[in-house]
């Protein structure tokens, strides 16, 4: 069977599965629609959280990013896992005890203020839309490469599927679909990784393979890789090029941002007990770690494969570089997508792949080898997707990777869509505009609000120039706005309304301004995005950390100067700190 038919079959089968699950688990009340009736087993919730969390970026882009950044890629590995420690210890159990439906609802009640709730809704909607647009883009890429349909058809199909099962099943439906999606995506990620690890090092466990020796040689993989890439003018794989303070701040912003993301937090509202919320975070991270510890191995192996394919012999020897006419099949396939491009700058018919921004090496290469600049452009997104082809794995593995990429994108999109629709129907409509709306009508509003997927699809198809750049926004904003107020709401009895609102606004405005200043969202950047211009050498990706610190400081100062919270709020805080008395499952 040819690859295209096989891919259609496998992807089609997963779609049938997702829709089937949604029909079986239809939500019948607002409780089921928003938080699955608090009836989800912690292990099941952990698995659903893992799929919810691991997006198209984790599945498709991350290993590629690490492959080219080397040690510098650690910020994603640390940042996107360490947040779960904060979540498990600082937020999840207490928010579960509070036992309501949405994150803004907690902020509104704890700070006895509709204004605080509204600010939280705005943060939530901005963060979630940024994210969901990226997912839709990921679906589009996978569809256009593997199913060879145009990107708009891919988007429409993806949107349709998500819409059907999120609207029908609500939180209950997406939870069980996410479990299925986790299984698909983890299988699709680890199978090629095991094969490649085996081929290169003879060790089938990727986590160990990239610390092993290269098959048939007596040199460790990472040492060999360090050697090869430095010979080509790149910085050593295990050293990386970012400054220590920037690595520190980006990691912190990603960690805290992860803990502050509404679609992740809300997953912990769905378990029956407070102790389930704690354990569930552990299960979630365990399931996430399966992919996140495999990714750096995939990255190192892929970088090795790519470099050795192009540079087959000693650097400088004319015949050591791959002749373009003899390029392998996977090279041709990916050339068609435009994600891999070759330009023969020195006209020798061979591919030179090296770091031509390294002035010293570039000069040597030009004088001694006659190289006229780097001739190969590799989009980092293709590393994971092209891996099975590079390793020469059977077609069903390639089809599986396509299904895995789609599963990763759809599961995250559905989770995001649900928090958007919940905050519209529950926080805005039920909480502010029409307080006496019946439950049946609220449920209907929630389902209609899921049509927000159309906006997401539009943004995914037609990214208004900034979608790719605002990923930093989502994490930075979550870190600088939502995380500190939730944390203080639990750990301080004296934090009041005025402090929280001032803190959120300062964190939000500072972080947003800094990113806009360098990245130019809506406007032209006001300064070049270079380390010399950055505040304390911190890049826009890491500035959320400073925003968070400002939020804490401002909130504390303002709260000391204004009236302390009323008595009943202090009781509320005392109450959420102990598990006793939490309301159980609602069905």
């Amino acid at each position: 069977m040819d690859l295209k038919t096989l891919t259609y079959l496998i992807v089609g089968a997963t779609f049938v599965l997702y829709i089937g699950i949604a029909l079986w688990s239809k939500a019948r009340s607002t409780g089921e629609f928003y938080i699955a009736g608090k009836g989800i087993h912690p292990v099941v919730n952990g698995m659903a959280t893992a799929a919810d969390w691991m997006s198209a970026a984790s599945f498709i882009s991350m290993a590629g990013l690490i492959a080219f950044l080397g040690y510098g890629g650690s910020v994603y590995l640390l940042g996107w896992t360490g947040g779960y420690v904060l979540l498990a210890m600082l937020l999840a159990p207490y928010l579960r005890k509070f036992g309501k439906f949405t994150v803004p609802e907690f902020i509104g009640e704890r700070y006895y203020s509709q204004t605080a709730r509204l600010v939280a809704v705005i943060c939530l909607i901005f963060i979630s839309f940024t994210y969901v647009a990226g997912q839709m883009r990921g679906v589009g890429i996978v569809f256009s490469r593997f199913l060879e349909v145009d990107i708009i058809t891919g988007l429409l199909v993806g949107m349709g599927i998500v819409f059907v099962y999120a609207v029908l099943g609500g939180m209950k439906g997406i939870t069980y679909t996410q479990v299925a999606q986790y299984v698909v995506l983890i299988f699709a990620y680890t199978v090629p990784a095991v094969f490649i690890a085996l081929q290169v090092t003879g060790n089938p466990i990727p986590q160990l393979a990239f610390g092993s020796m290269v098959q048939g040689e007596t040199v460790y993989l990472l040492d060999k890789l360090d050697g090869i890439v430095t010979e080509l003018g790149f910085s050593a794989y295990t050293a990386g090029a970012k400054s220590t303070i920037d690595v520190f701040m980006i990691t912190l912003a990603l960690m805290v941002g992860t803990a502050g993301l509404p679609h992740v937090i809300v997953r912990f509202f769905t378990v029956p007990k407070v102790r389930d919320a704690r354990a569930s975070a552990g299960w979630a991270l365990l399931f996430i770690a399966l992919l996140y510890t495999t990714a750096p191995a995939v990255a190192a192996l892929a970088r090795m494969n790519l470099t050795e394919t192009i540079q087959a012999g000693p650097v400088g020897e004319a015949t050591a570089n791959l002749a373009y006419a003899e390029r392998p099949n996977w090279f041709r396939t990916w050339e068609k997508t435009g994600l891999l491009t070759f330009e023969d700058k020195n006209g020798d018919g061979r591919i030179q792949y090296y770091n031509d921004t390294n002035a010293e090496f570039s000069a040597t290469a030009e004088a001694n080898y006659g190289w006229k600049g780097n001739e190969l452009k590799v989009d980092r997104d293709i590393m994971v997707l092209a891996n099975p082809e590079i390793a020469g794995l059977p077609n069903w593995v390639i089809a599986l990777v396509a299904a895995g990429g789609i599963a990763a994108a759809l599961s995250t999109a559905a989770g995001l869509l649900l928090v958007i629709s919940a905050s519209i129907s529950h926080d805005l409509v039920k909480g502010m505009l029409a307080r006496d709306i019946s439950e049946r009508h609220e449920l209907m509003v929630g389902r209609i609000a899921a049509a927000a997927i159309l906006v997401a699809g539009y943004l995914g198809y037609n990214p208004p120039g900034f979608v790719a750049q605002v990923v930093a926004f989502a994490f930075g904003l979550a870190a600088a706005s939502l995380f500190p107020v939730i944390l203080m709401g639990i750990f301080s009895k004296t934090m009041n309304r005025d402090g929280a609102i001032a803190g959120m606004l300062v964190g939000l405005v500072f972080t947003m301004s800094y990113i806009i200043y360098f990245k130019g969202v809506f406007i032209e950047p006001l300064a070049e995005n270079l380390p010399e211009n950055w505040l304390f050498g911190i890049s826009p990706e890491g500035i959320g950390s400073i925003g968070m610190v400002l939020n804490f400081i401002v909130a504390w100062i303002v709260s000391r100067m204004t009236t302390p919270p009323p008595e009943h709020i202090q009781h509320l805080v005392e109450d959420i700190r102990i598990p006793k008395g939490a309301s159980g499952a609602t069905h």
């Binding site: 650690s74 640390l78 360490g82 420690v85 990239f210 610390g211 020796m213 990472l222 520190f248 750096p296």
Partner: protein
């Protein structure tokens, strides 16, 4: 009522102590071993891994998982000791 209040305060103090211990470990493996001290630790090589690099790309993640399960297990015991558990 008074007695229960006392229990709740003791429970919260125990929780904070545990929390701080866990967060110190969380900070050490990632920010200290994986970032601030990475160059020093990279002098030590275990198998094919430089130690600092290993903490940044593998070790920290394993420690995070263990930490959460440990915290959950210890808190469940505190829940019972201080009689604040559910059901």
């Amino acid at each position: 009522m008074n007695n229960q209040k006392h229990d709740a305060a003791g429970y919260w103090r125990a929780n904070l102590r545990l929390l701080i211990t866990c967060l110190v470990i969380w900070f050490s493996v990632s920010y200290l071993f994986g970032i601030l001290l990475v160059d020093t630790l990279n002098q030590i090589q275990i198998g094919g891994f430089k130690l600092g690099f290993w903490f940044a790309q593998q070790g920290s993640i394993y420690v995070f998982v263990v930490l959460i399960f440990f915290y959950a297990w210890r808190m469940n015991r505190y829940d019972r000791e201080f009689d604040v558990h559910e059901d």
